[in-house]
């Protein structure tokens, strides 16, 4: 199968934005939330297919709504956010699987690069860049909030509002990532490149940079392998990312042994 330039472009911008935003998700210890959040896209995709409107818009609206719910739960309850989110998003996955037309199920769950269009590529570039630039503006505020909420608040940072902006940006990035990784696996792109980078970073700059680079490598390798092997792209994105993760773990292990 021939590799479409559009799918590679989408791969670059989805990987870049998911890796960069994911670097905050991993530090916030919300990796499971990021993963579960992606599942919510499925009912939105299903409604788009059933009622003949752009499934991306359906997915984004569902993700957007869920991000608001997560943010609210985080602010007002003492319950574990991940427990509530896990239950709620598994429900969304179940409902999505039941209502999505069977021929579209595999594509929605695991991604498909054979049908990408110029419009998809333009949307991925615009949304990816927008998400990265906006996240860059709130990055230091988010980090400070993680180190100490009081320190951030006393520096004039509205921690709750910054978290909300961030979650909404994650929704956008997850929505554009569905084309490549599918709603079941797109959460991977938010989590694993950042986890890989964390193994080999001692500064924030290096960590954010490597998260983005590993995101791009995972995503583009998955796209290229998908075209070459004629298999769904989502699982191949995951396998590429895991290979990088294992390489980083081994590199850290070797360097710590050499330091002994």
């Amino acid at each position: 199968m021939e590799v479409s330039v559009f799918s590679v472009v989408i791969g670059v911008f989805v990987g870049l934005s998911a890796g960069y935003l994911g670097s905050l998700m991993v530090l916030k210890r919300m990796a499971l939330v990021g993963d579960a959040l992606s599942h919510v896209a499925l009912p939105g995709l299903a409604l788009g297919i059933l009622f003949n409107f752009n499934p991306f818009i359906g997915a984004f609206l569902f993700l957007f709504g869920s991000a608001l719910v997560v943010w609210h739960i985080e602010r007002v309850t003492r319950l574990s956010v991940e427990t509530i989110v896990g239950a709620m998003f598994t429900l969304a996955l179940a409902v999505g699987i039941l209502i999505i037309p069977q021929p579209d199920l595999l594509e929605a769950l695991f991604g498909d690069i054979t049908k990408v269009t110029l419009t998809d590529a333009i949307v991925a570039v615009a949304v990816g860049l927008f998400a990265v630039l906006l996240t860059k503006m709130i990055y230091n505020k988010m980090i400070l909030g993680m180190i100490s909420e009081e320190l951030a608040s006393s520096s004039g940072i509205n921690v709750a509002r910054t978290n909300l902006v961030y979650l909404l940006l994650v929704s956008l990035v997850v929505a554009i990532g569905i084309k490549i990784a599918g709603s079941l696996l797109v959460g991977f792109l938010v989590i694993v490149p950042a986890a890989t980078a964390k193994n080999v970073s001692s500064s924030l700059f290096r960590y954010a940079l490597l998260s983005s680079v590993f995101g791009v490598i995972s995503s583009v390798s998955g796209v290229l392998l998908s075209a070459y092997l004629e298999l769904p792209s989502g699982p191949l994105v995951v396998l590429s990312g895991i290979a990088l993760f294992l390489a980083a773990v081994l590199a850290k292990w070797f360097s710590s042994r050499r330091g002994q």
Binding site: L144, L151, S202, L204
Partner: protein, 230 residues
């Protein structure tokens, strides 16, 4: 109404409640410019909540009046630095990239720590970095919430000497929360003892009186251990 020209802070009839429970009840005190006020009290007395109210981070009733054009530097009790790959330089640059080297000098750290990750610093070094964070914008007032928690005794002594120098040389007013009688007696002019409301607002020497200790902590035995270590 402005504060009196000799004062930097005036608090009157401050009440703070959380989840239907009154944490601070009718707290009133004044802080003179260029002095150090130690805030003491048992756990749960509302010392940190008082700081949060002074920083306008919690809702309160009553009046908190700061002198005009005040810049406040704040060092909180707890930080989560273990999970964030961030260097000292990156951390301090968040607030003011221009003054990083200058403020390191003020807290007695050399530039070799700049590229170290926060998580690998010793307790004493981390506290100094936090104080550097607090002084980087050249504040008039510093708020320290137990500034030497998790720090060995030698580093603790050095940190309080440094705070003393900041107060004397830069005219900075310091408000600090401490459980240490030695620190309260030797490094502050006044103390505010809290336990629901104000137990006493007096000269710091008062802290050595058994009756005052008993009123604050019940027995005072937890503090006696460190009282005469100097």
């Amino acid at each position: 109404m402005q504060v009196h020209e000799n004062n930097i802070l005036e608090v009157s009839h401050l009440h703070v409640a959380a989840q239907d429970q009154m944490i601070l009840k009718d707290v009133s005190f004044k802080v003179k410019r260029g002095t150090t006020l130690a805030i003491v009290g048992p756990n749960g007395a509302g010392k940190t909540v008082l700081f949060r109210a002074l920083l306008n981070l919690v809702p309160y009733t009553g009046e908190i009046k700061w002198a005009e054009n005040i810049r406040i530097g704040y060092v909180p009790q707890k930080l989560s630095v273990t999970d964030v790959p961030i260097t000292v330089n990156e951390f301090l640059s968040f607030k003011n990239p221009v003054n990083v080297k200058k403020c390191l000098g003020m807290v007695g750290l050399d530039e070799s720590v700049l590229h170290k990750a926060l998580e690998v610093l010793s307790g004493g070094q981390l506290q100094r970095v936090l104080i550097a964070w607090a002084v980087i914008d050249e504040p008039n007032v510093l708020l320290f919430d137990e500034p030497t928690t998790g720090v060995d005794l030698d580093s603790e002594e050095a940190i309080y000497e440094m705070l003393n120098t900041l107060e004397k040389e830069h005219g900075i007013t310091v408000l600090l929360i401490s459980h240490d009688i030695h620190v309260i007696r030797d490094y502050s002019e006044h103390m505010l003892a809290l336990k629901n409301g104000v137990i006493c607002f007096a000269e710091s020497e008062e802290i050595t009186k058994p009756s005052v200790l008993h009123a604050i902590y019940g027995t005072g035995t937890a503090l006696k251990r460190r009282k005469d270590r100097k």
